[in-house]
Symmetry: C2
Subunit: 323 residues, 2 copies
């Protein structure tokens, strides 16, 4: 079999991998895909690239990598309150390894099925392992969650637990460990790094309730920083409220809070709720979300220290060029 | 300046680089862009990746690279008869070189302005130089040009001249030269490789006239091969009709025809016209297009040899993994 036929096989292989949707008039296999948008919604799009050795270990389990490559994009749709519809995949591979590709595709497809999102196009090229995925979703433009809507007096919430993915990464890089963690704890943390859960149904619920939202990809401080900057406000965080998993609750509190504040890859949502919606959020989303602070008019992000003084939190978040 | 602030600057820099369109409700700088589609059209999308050392020389002029990165996607829109609207850019860079990025952006922006296409999102990551661009255009679904519409008795046409980009590449790789070519000829060929012209207005005219179309990115034989395969037909080509530039007309005819048949990167259109539209195409598009053959019911692609026998043309086209 020539390399070209193998290459064509990939197209063929990906063609029926994901759910088939009625709004896809033409999918993989022509110059373009043809996609039908609903009349009362706009299309939300986001593209993300994962590079081997930068965003993931080159020897990572390919099934987890396939899952995460799509999860990262779905998390952006969640942060807008959008419903997933289609995605494209541009994958650059050093060589054609059928087993690797099959596992990668399985991880991708399992998450695609869960969220009814169809692969509608792509490009496969030879080169250093790099994955770019663009996701497309639908959202009512009047309800789309943006970063710029936070106002003085609003409350700051996050979903799930923070810091798990960062702890897992530091552990895998041999830069951190803690004797209190069991093998099960470490397995849990690894799962959180490799298989983050995009908070899509939460994002959709929030579109009626939140004034602003972002997904936590670069760390809480960096991402909340985008909200306060775009909204022209400040934030005060109660460090003791930062939600920690049972694994991170075992370790030194300051270290755990550091992970929760500064490490990325959790893909939880950070969102802002105006006063009239506090009670509904606390009631409807109980157990899913935690109130961690409030929006203020001091520019920047602060916390109350042990002497009840406001101290600035200086976080750098995940820097794609400083990693 | 920290690496993070530099990184943010890129976003800021790209934000106003390209035309600002009214159908972009939210552009660069949030979790997703929000895009409004026209009611009577569908969205045509295509994603392409260019990898340094595979699709271009790492030391290529960055302005040409920026131009070509977008041209490749626009050519896919042309092949569907679509009108460009938006694009996203995922760029992976070994390091932040401001001058390089400025030139790259200028090349990109010049073509974006020409075709009123707005950059609406992107991702910038560190790693081996790789550029993925997804283009989005609008097309009336009843008029979209697909690969599958060719029928027995239709005629095969191409736009422009073929083989120039392939000749330029072989020359640059020191794999071919011809003493008959002047410096001006070589400059012309290089320009054709580095700055291909996406045939957008031609593609839009063809949406009423052609039964199938494709852009020639992998070589005429490979790309016409996609049309005959998808349409379940065959093709007969008149080798003497293959349109050659004045530069390639100077060299050995067989070598020139080889470039025209087998080398990629020309980004001309190959399209198929049903009998009732022959005269209109010949009249309206005179000078822009050349009839090179006809659709037959012999599966495969053939030519008439000097003894008037049908001989198969076996071309491999551009293979992303065999390059």
């Amino acid at each position: 079999m020539s390399a070209l036929s193998e290459f064509s096989l990939i197209h063929h292989y990906f063609e029926t991998l994901t759910p088939q949707r009625e709004d896809v008039l033409l999918g993989i296999g022509d110059d373009c895909a043809l996609l039908k948008c609903p009349h009362d919604h706009v299309v939300a799009v986001s593209i993300d690239t994962l590079v081997a050795g930068v965003h993931f270990f080159a020897d990572v389990d390919p099934q987890s990598l396939g899952y995460k490559s799509l999860a990262v994009g779905l998390s952006d749709l969640a942060a807008m309150g959008a419903t997933p519809a289609w995605f494209t995949l541009a994958i650059t591979l050093p060589e054609l390894e059928t087993n690797w590709l099959k596992s990668f595709s399985q991880g991708l497809a399992s998450l695609a099925k869960e969220h009814n999102i169809q692969l509608v196009g792509g490009d496969t090229t030879r080169g250093p392992l790099t994955i770019s995925i663009q996701v497309h979703g639908f959202v009512d433009p009047k309800k789309a969650l943006q970063r710029s809507g936070a106002q003085l007096g609003d409350m700051i919430y996050v979903s799930g637990c923070l810091g798990d993915a960062g702890a897992a990464l530091q552990y895998q890089l041999n830069q951190w460990d803690d004797a209190k963690l069991t093998d099960q704890d470490k397995q849990y943390l690894k799962q959180r790094l490799e298989r983050p859960t995009p908070r899509l149904s939460l994002g959709q619920s929030l579109s009626e309730l939140a004034s602003a939202a972002i997904d936590i990809s670069d760390g809480l401080l960096a991402d909340l920083g985008h909200i306060v900057e775009k909204s022209g406000v400040g934030a005060r965080i109660d460090l003791d409220k930062l939600p920690l998993s049972s694994a991170l609750s075992k370790i030194d509190r300051k270290i755990a809070q550091g992970f929760a504040l500064e490490s990325g890859d959790d893909y939880e949502l950070c969102f802002i709720v105006p006063p009239q919606n506090f009670s509904q959020v606390e009631k409807d989303l109980k157990g899913q979300v935690t109130r961690i602070g409030m929006i203020t008019d001091d520019k920047g992000i602060y916390y109350l220290d042990k002497d009840d003084n406001l101290s600035p939190l200086i976080g750098i978040g995940y820097d794609h060029f400083a990693y």
